[in-house]
Structures are given as structure tokens and as C-alpha cells.
Symmetry: C2
Subunit: 330 residues, 2 copies
DNA sequence: ATGAAAGCGCTAACAG
DNA sequence: CTGTTAGCGCTTTCAT
């Protein structure tokens, strides 16, 4: 079967120029508000643009100016509320500043992270915000590109934005003590393996326990995105500690699983989670959790990134730590 | 303050060619595995590529071949678990096929949706998947671009993928009846205003009620992303119906809010939600809900989109409806 | 106030 | 098997 294609080719700047009876240069000037143009020709050009329903080709423009206004985002998965909300905030703020976002979900796989990094470089992104942590920071540095890391290990070669994980760990432990608990364990997931965010939280928890002369125990889970595995591990941990009365979980999803498991077993174990996303605090208001300031983290990360992009000679990398808050369960 | 820039410029294909002592064409051929190349030169070229740490500029390539391998995704917000998970799935599948994803969060604002649409067109995306519904479908059609809509109104000018919202509504109502409930209301949010997905769900619910000779009542909420407003509305609805024993909510987040509200009031109201995301079924396993097949929807949407992209003359638009399932609360 | 010409980095005829 | 040439759609000196 054949069909006669009536599809008019996408008009280009040259077509506009011809229709308006001017040079391409003039059209470009009208489009970018550059130089001086007589009102007459401006009108003629704008008419032609409208008649042809012309839209400038940003890709061609990007090639010429060697700036794409693309920002790459590398995160474990938007399917997790913390990253889903963080990515949403980052994208919203960037969009307001006329940047466009390429999204990459690594699922904590180093191989994917590497592939995405190369893809972003090949596509000439102006910068990246990275919340995945499965390949070394050096790999990113080789890119010689403005980069802001979220929750990555403190570094003086890259800008890092994080929330106060050490205080978060302390606050969680202190709240558990305040609730009269003493036999408290901590479970963190490997999701933030190299981030050290989980290390800091753990340290906060362990320090508080030590300061109060109490024993502590930290478990680390290996398959953070698989609910069934999480359940099994949690279950065996509960079996191993029949006298437990407090738990500090590294994230709210795991905390939620623990919560319903504890309820099912009719145990009196007080649970504190971590992240405090909109989703979880809305759906599970009874959960006590440490709230990360997602919105501020997004804002700061974007501000710093854009500053790096625009100030060529700024290579002072800093670590920014934002405060966390405790949200008591209802 | 001045600084001497030691930054070596990004190498280009020409640099590789010079270093390898061959023509740019040859380098291009090595990169794209096209034509016949002697092993000797291939090695020389590859060496040069490595020495210079050369990475091809995809933007330049895109311009030439007039294909970007960019896909635009327009959704309300990745901060909502349903869209967060859907976007994750879509991006993962597309990434496997070497497509890159530009993400757009409209927050249900028509103005943003329009801006994003134009941005995507200007950036020469090869296609789009649209789950936002605040501007008319005609606006999208004007783009003359492969597009797949998710949960949009049935249409014969655009491919639509959705789950079986009518059956979903029926299943929710039937489950409530099975639970011995008879005074059942339905609340849907305006989030899917024009999608008609919410209309279908409502119809399913109302049909079942009618078939059983029972009265029905449907409320529509106007500010779907604001938890506080939702609470107030839900609260006043509960006040208005003191004898209520069943509720069917248009999404799980709202259902979760209703659930904790009902618990607080110590009412015996059976609640059925909608969406069945990983996040919610994990965090709130006690919630009964209608599960949309997110993964299959993503897969189908991508398959159809890529087919449209690759088969130029295929303009048979179809509507694909995927089955939903009931997940009983634990 | 406007235009001609060159080129961003790449690829695809076409030639040899 | 390899190179020369032209050009994707745009912007920007440099003229006039």
C-alpha cells in the first residue's frame, strides 16, 4: 500500500527568511532579540513565523553555541518516594530557569550508572546532579563538568549537598530513648552504600547509645528494592531479638514494613524511620520519622549547580549540610 | 584575579583523525562500524580515541541524522507514587533501547503542559508519552509526532494506553458489597479530569450500585495534590454521612488519608483505593485497592511508541485497555 | 538596519 | 579500503 505524503517538511529558519523576504540573519536576530531591527521587518518576520508555524530547532542552536541547557539527573529510581519527590523538585526548579532534564534511573547498578554518565556526556549536558553512588567520584570528575552530588561522601573535589545524617541518627536514637526504649537496633540499607549518609546515621545512633551506656547493634541489608527479601530479613532479625523494644530503620519504606510486621506480631516495638517524604507522612501518619528537607536540598543543589555552570573559574567545592527534623507519629 | 586555563578543549572527531593520521570519515566509520576498515587503521583510530579520551558529540550527530533518540515524558509529578513508578518503568525500558528521556512535571497546570510541549518539539524529540491531561489532544496532534497517551480519553487520532477503569470501578464496588457494605460513596479527584479514566471508574461503581438497587453518591475533589485540603474535604464528607459503611477512593493516597481518618473516628467504614503502587501496597498492606498494571502499561506504551517512530506510514491509532486486579488488604 | 559567508561537530554520498 | 566534499539548522563576525 502506498500513500502520498502530504506532510509538509518542518519549516526551517531559511524558509521563514524567504517568505519574509529577508536574510536568515535577520530572522535569527528577531528570534533572539539581538541587534537593531526595524519594526517593519520584525513584523514581517513574525508573520512568516506564524504562517509557517515555525519552531526553532534547539538542537542546531545548541550545536552552535555549545550549550544545551540540558541537565542530567542520575538517581536510583523515581519509583522510590524520596527520589521521586526529589527529582520532581529539582526538575521543577530547573524548568523555571529554562533548563531541561534528562532523567536516569540506575537501580543501584554500577554498570548502568556508567552507561548513563557517558550518555549524558555524549549529549553535552551543561551539568549533572547525582544521587546515585555506585561508581567512584573520580569517574565523574574526569568529565570536567559542573556536578553536584546529593548525599555523597564528603569531598573537596566536588560539591556535595546532603542533610545532616549524623544529627538524624542522633535524633532517631534520642526519640527512641525518650519513648523509654533501651533495647534498640538499627537497620540500614545498602542503597546509600558509599554515600556515607548511612554511615553517618549509624554513627549518630551508635554515639547516642554509647553515651547512655546502652548496647547497640546495626544490621545492613543488601537488596534494598526487593520487598519480599526485606520482609524475610526483618522477620529473622525480629526472631533473633525477642526482647527488642525499639528500631531505627534507614528509610521509611523499610520502616513501614517493620511497622506492620511488628503489629502483626503484636509486639511493643517503637519504630523510627527516615526520609519523611510527603507520600509516607501522608499515608502513614502514625510513623515517627526523621524528615529530610527535600525541597531545600533540591533548591540548594540547583543553585550551586547553576552557579558552577555560570562562573567558569569557581572551583571551590564545598559540602553543604541541611538540618533534618523529627516528625512524631500521630 | 586571573587564572591561566589549562583546560584542554574537548577533542573532536577531527582531532582524532589528525592524531591517527586518517580522514574524519574513517574515524566516523570506525565509530559507527560502517563500511570496511582495515584492522590496522581501526586500531590506530581506537588508540587515538583512547589517548584523547574522545567522546562523540551526540548533539552534532543528532543534527545531521535528524533523529535525537530523545523521548519526552509529560506527567503530573514523579512525586506521586503512581507516576513515579510509571516514569521509572518507562525510562528503564526506553533506556534499554537506547532512547533518552526528557522528563516534564506539569503539576496539572495547562500552562506548564503547553510550555513543555513546545520545549520538547523545539528539542526535536522523536516521540512523547503523555500522562498529563490539561490541554486538549488537538494541541498534541499539531505536532505531527509519534505520541502515546496514558489514560487519556479514548481517541482515534492518537494511541491510548490505559487500564480497565470501568472494570476497576466495578471491582471496587463489588468488593465493598462483598464486605457487606451498602452505604457506599465514591470520591474521585480531578487529577484525571479529562482523562475520563475517573469517569469510567465512577461509572463502574455507579452501575454496580444500580444493579443492586442501592443508592450511590460521587464526590469530586478539586485540589488533588494538597493533603490538608483533602483532609478537610474528607472530614466534611464523613460528617455529612454519619451512617456510611463503605468508601471507594479514586487513588491510594486519598484512600490512605481516609483510612487513618476513619480509624481515628473509630468508624467501621470499609475502604477501597485505586492504583496499587509498589510503594502503597508495601507501606499500607492493609489497604484494599485496585491494582493498575504499571509495568505492563509502561511496556505497551513504549512498544507502541517505538513502532510509531519506526513505521512511518502507520497511522492506525488504537486504544489499548489492560486488565486491573483486586488486591485485598491484609 | 541588514546581508554574506563561515562554521558548530558530525555523517553520507561519491570518487578513487 | 580510504579521502574529499557538502551540508544538517542555526548564529555570528564582518561588511555595507
Amino acid at each position: 500500500m502506498r500513500r502520498i505524503s502530504i506532510v509538509t517538511e518542518k519549516p526551517k529558519l531559511e524558509d521563514v527568511a524567504k517568505l519574509a523576504g529577508v536574510s536568515p540573519t535577520t530572522v535569527s536576530r528577531v528570534l533572539n532579540n539581538r541587534g537593531a531591527i526595524s519594526d517593519k521587518t520584525r513584523r514581517r518576520v513574525n508573520n512568516a513565523i506564524e504562517q509557517l508555524n515555525y519552531h526553532p530547532n534547539e538542537i542546531a542552536r545548541s550545536l552552535f553555541v555549545s550549550k544545551t541547557h540540558f541537565i542530567g539527573l542520575i538517581f536510583p529510581t523515581t519509583g522510590h518516594p524520596f527520589y521521586g519527590e526529589l527529582v520532581f523538585q529539582i526538575e521543577s526548579i530547573l524548568s523555571d530557569k529554562n533548563y531541561k532534564v534528562l532523567i536516569c534511573n540506575t537501580m543501584d547498578q554500577a554498570e548502568k550508572e556508567n552507561k548513563y554518565l557517558n550518555m549524558l556526556l555524549a549529549n553535552q549536558v551543561d551539568g549533572m546532579i547525582v544521587g546515585a553512588h555506585n561508581i567512584g567520584i573520580e569517574t565523574y570528575q574526569r568529565a570536567h563538568l559542573p556536578i553536584v552530588a546529593i548525599d555523597r561522601k564528603v569531598s573537596d573535589t566536588i560539591t556535595v549537598v546532603s542533610s545532616d545524617n549524623y544529627q538524624g541518627g542522633r535524633m532517631a536514637a534520642e526519640e527512641l530513648l525518650r519513648q523509654g526504649r533501651t533495647k534498640i537496633i538499627h537497620i540500614n540499607s545498602v542503597m546509600q552504600r558509599e554515600a556515607l549518609s548511612s554511615y553517618q546515621r549509624r554513627k549518630g545512633y551508635e554515639d547516642v547509645m554509647t553515651e547512655h551506656g546502652l548496647p547497640f547493634k546495626t544490621y545492613t541489608m543488601d537488596l534494598p528494592f526487593d520487598t519480599e527479601v526485606k520482609k524475610q530479613i526483618l522477620s529473622s532479625i525480629l526472631d533473633k531479638h525477642p526482647d527488642l523494644d525499639g528500631m531505627f530503620l534507614g528509610d521509611d519504606i523499610t520502616a513501614a514494613i517493620a511497622l506492620s510486621m511488628v503489629r502483626k506480631r503484636e509486639k511493643d516495638i517503637f519504630i523510627v524511620g527516615y526520609d519523611g517524604t510527603e507520600t509516607i507522612t501522608t499515608c502513614l501518619p502514625e510513623l515517627t520519622t526523621i524528615v529530610q528537607p527535600i525541597r531545600s536540598m533540591a533548591q540548594l543543589a540547583v543553585d550551586l549547580l547553576l552557579k558552577e555552570i555560570n562562573d567558569d573559574f569557581n572551583d571551590i567545592k564545598k559540602n553543604y549540610v541541611l538540618p533534618v527534623t523529627l516528625k512524631r507519629g500521630e
